[in-house]
Amino acid sequence: MSHSPMSVSPATADDFVLAMENVRGGYGDADILQGVTIKVAPREIVVIVGPNGAGKSTAMKAVFGLLIVRGGTVVFDGEDITGWAPNRIVKRGICYVPQVENVFREMTVHENFEMGAFLRKGDLTAAYDRVYQLFPDLKAKRKTPAGDLSGGQRQMVAMGRALMLDPKLLLLDEPTAGLSPKYMEQIFQITRDVRDTGVSIMLVEQHAKQALAFCDRGYVLATGANRHEGTGAALLADQEVAHMFLGG
C-alpha cells in the first residue's frame, strides 16, 4: 500500500498542468474518492487504471467539476479550480470526452467539430486543419452524421470535438471501450499524435496492460484511493500490479 515517490517525473510541483491532491468526494452524500492524488505534466499522457469501482472515472469527473468535492484541491495551470462549474472549466482550457454519448449523432462530423468550437470566436481554419490532419479518415466523412460512423470513427469525432477548443488538457474517459484491438491501437496512436500537438492527456482505461504500455505515467487506483504510481513500464513490471490486472 506504499505510495511510491514521484521520482519518475522530472517536473516539480509548479510544472504540472494539473495537480489534484488528496481529493475526496462523490455524487451524493457518500464519498467515492477517499483521497486521490493525480498529477499531469505538460505534454504527458497519464493513464488511470484500476479494478471496477476503483473510482477511475469518478476521479476524472472530479477534475471536470462533475463531482461534489469535499476535500483536497484541483489546481490547473497554476489556478485553483476546485468546485468550478464545467462550463467555466471548459473555457479555462480543459476538455472532457465522456465514455458514451460523446458525439452529436444527428449532426454531421463537421458540425460536431463546429459545436466543439462553440465558445471560440474568430477564424477557426487552423483548428479545423488540425483535427482533419489528426483524423484524415474523417475528411471524406465530414458531411456524414456522426451516428452513422463506426465506433472507432465516432471516438475520433468525439476527440476532435474536444480539441476544437484548443485545450491544454484533454480528459478521455475509456476511449477504447467496446473497440476492436485494431481500433484500440489506432486510438492510442492518435492520442500520442494529439499529445505531440502540445496537449496533456489524462485517460481512464479498462485495458490496463495495453494502456500502461503506451502511457508516460500511470496511476493505479483501488477503492477510491491511490494504490500505485510510476512510469507505465515500471507499473507493468510491478509484481503486485501484475497480480491485480494481468492475471500474473
Partner: protein, 290 residues
C-alpha cells in the same frame, strides 16, 4: 370524377390543412426535442395567436396578412413569458409536471380568449371570396397566401437551424443535451430562442386555420391531436418529419371522407397516432423514443 376535380376537392384542401398542421407540429416536435415534454398548451397558444391577429386587424385597420407577422411577434413574447412564469419554475422537476402545467396553461389561455373576445365565432374579413383558376386548379387568394407563408416559414426555419450558430446549438441541445452543455451552449439562450420560434409558429398556424375557416375559442384545442399525430408520425425532434407528418395527416383527413362518413374525419388523426405508435414508434424519420 375528373382528375382536376379530385385535385380541387381533395388534394388542395388536404395540402392546405396539412400545411397548417405542419406549422403547428414543428413547434411541438421542437419542444419535445429540446425540453423533452409534450406541450399541451400548443393548440390554445395557436388560438391566442389567431385572436391577437384579430385584435391587430381591429385596432390598426390593417389587412389580416399584414397583421400576421405582428401577431407572430406578440405571441412569441407571450410564449417566452409563459415559459418564464410557469415552465422554467418546473425545469428541474420530472417532465410530467411540466406537461400537466402546460394543460393548465392551455385552459388559462382559452378562458382568456373567451373573456376578451367572447365565445361566438368570428372572422377576419366578411364576404365571399371567389377562387382564381391556376391551370385548372381553384385557389382562393387566402389559400395561395397560406401555402406561400408555410413555404417561407419552413425554408427560413430550416436555414436558421442548418446554417446559423444558434440554430446548430438548438439542434445540438435536442441531439445530446449533456454534450451541448459540455461544449458551452447556454441552456437559457436555447430555451429563449425555442419559445420565440414556437410562439411565432403557433400564431401562424392558428391564424392560417382561422382565415381559412373561422375564429373560435376551441379551434386550437381541436388542432392539438392532429398536430401531435403529425409530430410523432414524422419522428419526435425532427423538423422535416413534422412537415411530412403534418401533410400526411391533413391529406388523410381530407381523403377519409371518400371511404368513411365525414363525421369521422377528426378521428383519423387518432387512428394515425395509434398506428404509428404500434408499428413504428420512432416515426417515419427516426425520431427520439418517447
Amino acid at each position: 370524377m375528373a382528375i382536376i376535380d379530385f385535385i380541387n376537392f381533395y388534394i388542395v384542401p388536404g395540402l392546405l390543412l396539412g400545411s397548417i398542421y405542419a406549422v403547428g407540429a414543428i413547434g411541438i416536435t421542437m419542444v419535445f426535442g429540446i425540453l423533452r415534454f409534450a406541450h399541451f398548451a400548443h393548440g390554445d397558444m395557436a388560438t391566442m395567436g389567431a385572436f391577437i391577429a384579430l385584435a391587430v386587424v381591429g385596432l390598426f385597420g390593417v389587412t389580416p396578412w399584414t397583421a400576421l407577422p405582428i401577431a407572430m411577434v406578440l405571441t412569441a413574447i407571450l410564449a417566452v413569458g409563459i415559459d418564464r412564469t410557469f415552465y422554467d419554475y418546473l425545469r428541474k422537476r420530472p417532465a410530467i409536471l411540466t406537461v400537466m402545467a402546460s394543460l393548465g396553461v392551455a385552459l388559462m389561455l382559452r378562458s382568456l380568449v373567451q373573456v376578451i373576445w367572447g365565445v361566438d365565432p368570428q372572422t377576419y374579413q366578411r364576404g365571399i371570396v371567389r377562387p382564381d383558376t391556376y391551370f385548372g386548379i381553384l385557389l382562393r387568394p387566402r389559400e395561395l397566401y397560406t401555402f406561400l407563408s408555410v413555404i417561407v416559414i419552413v425554408v427560413a426555419l430550416t436555414i436558421f437551424l442548418r446554417a446559423s450558430k444558434w440554430g446548430k446549438a438548438m439542434r445540438a441541445m435536442s441531439d445530446n443535451p449533456d454534450l451541448a452543455r459540455l461544449s458551452g451552449v447556454d441552456n437559457r439562450m436555447v430555451t429563449l430562442l425555442l419559445w420565440t420560434i414556437v410562439g411565432a409558429l403557433c400564431a401562424a398556424s392558428g391564424f392560417m386555420l382561422a382565415i381559412n375557416t373561422e375564429l373560435t375559442p376551441m379551434m386550437g384545442w381541436f388542432l392539438l391531436l392532429p398536430m401531435f399525430a403529425a409530430a410523432i408520425l414524422g419522428g419526435v425532434g425532427r423538423v422535416e418529419g413534422a412537415v411530412l407528418g403534418g401533410l400526411i395527416v391533413g391529406m388523410v383527413e381530407e381523403l377519409s371522407v371518400l371511404v368513411m362518413p365525414g363525421q369521422y374525419k377528426a378521428a383519423t388523426a387518432f387512428v394515425i397516432l395509434l398506428l404509428i405508435l404500434l408499428v413504428r414508434p420512432r416515426g417515419l424519420l427516426n425520431g427520439k423514443v418517447l
